[in-house]
Amino acid sequence: MNGNTTLTTRETTDEKQTGTPFAPQTDEDVAAMLEAIGVSDVDELFDIPDAVRFDESFDIDAGSEQTVVRELTETLERNDAPIEFLGRGHYAHHVPSLVDHISLRSEFITSYTQYQPEITQGFLQVLFEYQSLLVELTGLEIANCSMYDAATALGEAATLADRVRETTGDRILVPDYIRAERRDVLENYVAGADLVVEELPADDGVTTPEILEEAIDDDVVMTYLESPTTDGVLEEHLEEIGEIVSAHDGMFCLGTDPVALALLRSPADVGVDVVVGDASVLGMGPSYGMGLGLFACREAYLRQVPGRLVGASRDDDGNRAFTLTLQTREQHIRRERATSNICTNQAWVALRAAIHAASLGPSGLVSLAKRCHRLAEQTASRLEEIEGVSAPVRDRHHFREFRARVDDANAVATAIEANGFAIHVVDEETVQICVSDRNEHRIDELVDAFTEVVN
């Protein structure tokens, strides 16, 4: 390929294009550039031994913008469009339009990590505001500017626990209600440190001090619980549990989310050392599990925190300015002794979450959280009135979601789906329903569908 590569057509037809439309060099430019370099053909610039040269085609067709948009739109239309009453660790709320419009400003979305803070003050300040939001919600002093998702944040918390603990130990306790995917990720993160993961049974969906006392000893490096749990239940004994964990010199890690935290007692208040979770409940609609790993912890762990941190400093004019800081923890400097291997994170999702939170403000956040609690309890009560349905299964406090018992969960879910709703099947006799501002306007119909299906 040389100077005769032509710029692609930018027409809206399917006419065959011959190069990338996103490289601006004209044929004349290419000729002048080759001359300046001192070669006659671009091929001469490739120092690839013949034996490993690839002379075939990928056999992937090019398409005009219009064609590709049409084809992918058509493919995506193969997805059904039920009203989702789905949760179990993956939640979404209405995302204000401001979030899209601001986050898609190309100064934000097309920027790289802020290695040159003097020209990336804008993003740094948003990330600083994001960290501050999480500090307020968790009560912990330090929040990083993101991990990938709740599962990887949990994995990072466990390796942090292992690093900071003075006495040796090799056990991690997790609740039996944890999503299998989260546990699987955790197992991979801790295998390198030879830690083993064990499950704590719950008592009707809640972890009691007695259950923990039974399982814990000085070998336990970290104890992890969730509130709300994967079943939508609020844990009730976090303070006592924190004391037990602390008495055994363990780290207490809590999985939660920023909307729930607007209502719940601050984790730091009940002895939690590290908070993880999925913060993309703010800022993102359903994204097939693309998340935003929330990670906040006590100041004592500052030098061991994984991930990027934005700090305030001063510039040469004496003005406050922001910068990535404590980078000597990170892989590009510390390499195999880094606190994590993470480099690219979920910064843009954090930006979206920060804008969403700011749009709601404290009053909006608290009222959304109250609604998530109220809707779950009310909807469960309405289903309970239906003959053949028992809800909620757990006699506990709920947030966003709850379990319901029916005779044949698969049959119920399938019939409900035929009415245009998606719900979880937990086991043969249990379904789970997640309600929020996104589907609130369809709850009446869901209840009607249940009534019809079960009878």
Partner: protein, 476 residues
């Protein structure tokens, strides 16, 4: 010189540039009137409360103090900051793409089809037999790849014995960190005087305890590892696996494939090679390709097709999971759109133009470039200048500077990767900026930048007395 000028929103009365939201209006909201027991709920929440117009202006001002690809050249070496086509955002915003991860397979056939097609595209591009899309970033891909190598050796009864991963000194820091996270001892491999893998050193390092060699090709100096076949033979003869770090794949599209070079495992950085926006730090995606013998170790689940229907399945000896769901779906969707737009010929052309651009830019710069022939990036030396100062001064000329001070085999390194997206005019502007800084007085470099929204920021005190939230700013 054409230069990008940033906004400066500096209010004389304010502490810094644009005030923090917390400095505008913090409000405390009482949390009462719930039927939850008091010991479960907080008393109050104190956060900024501002109207939408005020917020729109706040964030717009902040965006004007931020530099993106659309602002100007962004030649960060190893980062492949190419143009991000806008239409991909429209596709990622389609309501039909907004699905919950627990949706029944039958009801997300479109999403699964796109996963399956992208798995296939990436396999062809890398010369691999199977691809997982689950890792949410390059480093996560490295971790997944090393776990696959580990599982393979365990399956062969050599898990304990093969405790080392070999990584060249000039490799990305993530290689070392990912291997360490998986529990490996990292054996550092020095380069030879030509800037490539030292075959003797590799022969000495490779042995019964070698699990894998992690290699970037072209390497971080932009050089193709000409001895790649011998390298692969040495590692394979020792019983190890070859891991390809895909950070520099933009140099080779359509001209060479890792699978044909003897690599068994590779990751792709879709936010580099396949033009998905980096988003100020992420999200990216780090799919991993493997050769046939490793296919059964891939993360759970994989997507397969049966008679036009798509389904999830768990590979027989799967390493399990490296992400809580299916990775960064919306990023993967944009990568699919980009690949579909360019096609095979377009991808090959992208590499050609990227390598052309790097070589042209280098030809226009009067700085020493010790290692040649480079491909999509080159590492120039700032000579007797401090590379970090050199970069700060480049900001004054309205461009984003290169990656600095790395790799270390070039003194005061300026690692420069213009990508295919820069026009000749824009490359000339970059060359002019290099030249102007090289000609500047030393004090101009030390005092730089002056033309940016913030001036040189004090890194030392930021790290010594960390202030990481508005709460800490208030209390200190």
């Amino acid at each position: 010189m054409q230069r990008h000028t940033q906004a400066i929103w500096n209010d004389d009365d304010s502490e810094g540039y644009e005030p923090l939201l917390s400095e505008r209006n913090l409000e405390t909201v009482e949390v009462d009137d719930t039927d939850l027991p008091d010991h479960l709920t907080r008393d109050s929440l104190k956060l900024p409360e501002l109207s939408e117009p005020e917020l729109a202006r706040h964030y717009t001002r902040l965006s004007q103090m931020n530099y993106g690809i659309d602002s100007g050249p962004y030649p960060l070496g190893s980062c492949t900051m190419k143009y991000n086509p806008k239409f991909t955002e429209d596709i990622a915003s389609l309501p039909s793409a907004a699905v919950h991860p627990d949706r029944d397979e039958a009801s997300v056939q479109g999403t699964l089809q796109i996963y399956h097609e992208l798995q296939d595209y990436l396999a062809r591009i890398g010369g691999m037999d199977a691809v997982t899309l689950q890792p949410p970033a390059g480093a996560a891909g490295e971790f997944a790849g090393i776990l696959i190598a580990q599982a393979y050796h365990e399956d062969n009864g050599e898990g304990e014995q093969r405790s080392e991963v070999i990584v060249p000194t000039s490799a990305h820091g993530t290689n070392f960190a990912s291997a360490a996270l998986a529990g490996y001892d990292v054996v550092e491999l020095p380069e030879d005087d030509d800037g490539r893998v030292d075959l003797e050193a590799l022969s000495a390092a490779a042995g019964d305890s070698t699990a894998a060699l992690m290699l970037t090709n072209p390497n971080t100096l932009g050089l193709f590892e000409r001895n790649i076949e011998e390298i692969a033979t040495i590692v394979h003869d020792a019983g190890g696996l070859m891991y390809y770090d895909g950070a520099n794949l933009n140099a080779l599209l359509g001209r060479a494939r890792p699978g044909d070079m003897g690599f068994d495992i590779m990751h792709y950085n879709v936010h580099k090679t396949f033009a998905t926006p980096h988003g100020g730090g992420g999200p990216g995606a780090g799919p991993v390709g493997v050769s046939e013998q490793l296919e059964s170790f891939l993360p759970n689940p994989q997507v397969r097709e049966r008679d036009g229907e798509y389904e999830l399945f768990e590979p027989e000896r799967s390493i399990g999971k490296v992400h809580g769901a299916m990775g960064n779906w919306l990023v993967l969707l944009k990568a699919h759109a980009y690949i579909s737009r360019l096609g095979g010929d377009g991808l090959r052309d992208a590499s050609a133009k990227a390598v052309l651009n790097a070589n042209y830019l280098a030809s226009q710069i009067d700085l020493k470039i010790p290692f040649e022939p480079f491909h999509h990036e080159f590492v120039a030396s700032a000579g007797d200048r401090d590379a970090a100062d050199f970069a700060k001064r480049m900001l004054d000329y309205g461009v984003h500077p290169p990656t600095t001070k790395w790799p270390e085999n070039v003194p005061e390194a300026l690692m420069t990767e213009p990508t295919e997206a820069e026009s000749k005019t824009s490359l000339d502007q970059l060359a002019e900026a290099f030249g102007a800084v090289a000609a500047d007085e030393p004090s101009a470099l030390e005092d730089a930048p002056k033309a940016t929204s913030a001036k040189r920021i004090d890194q030392t005190s930021a790290a010594r007395e960390p202030q990481l939230s508005w709460h800490q700013l208030e209390s200190r």
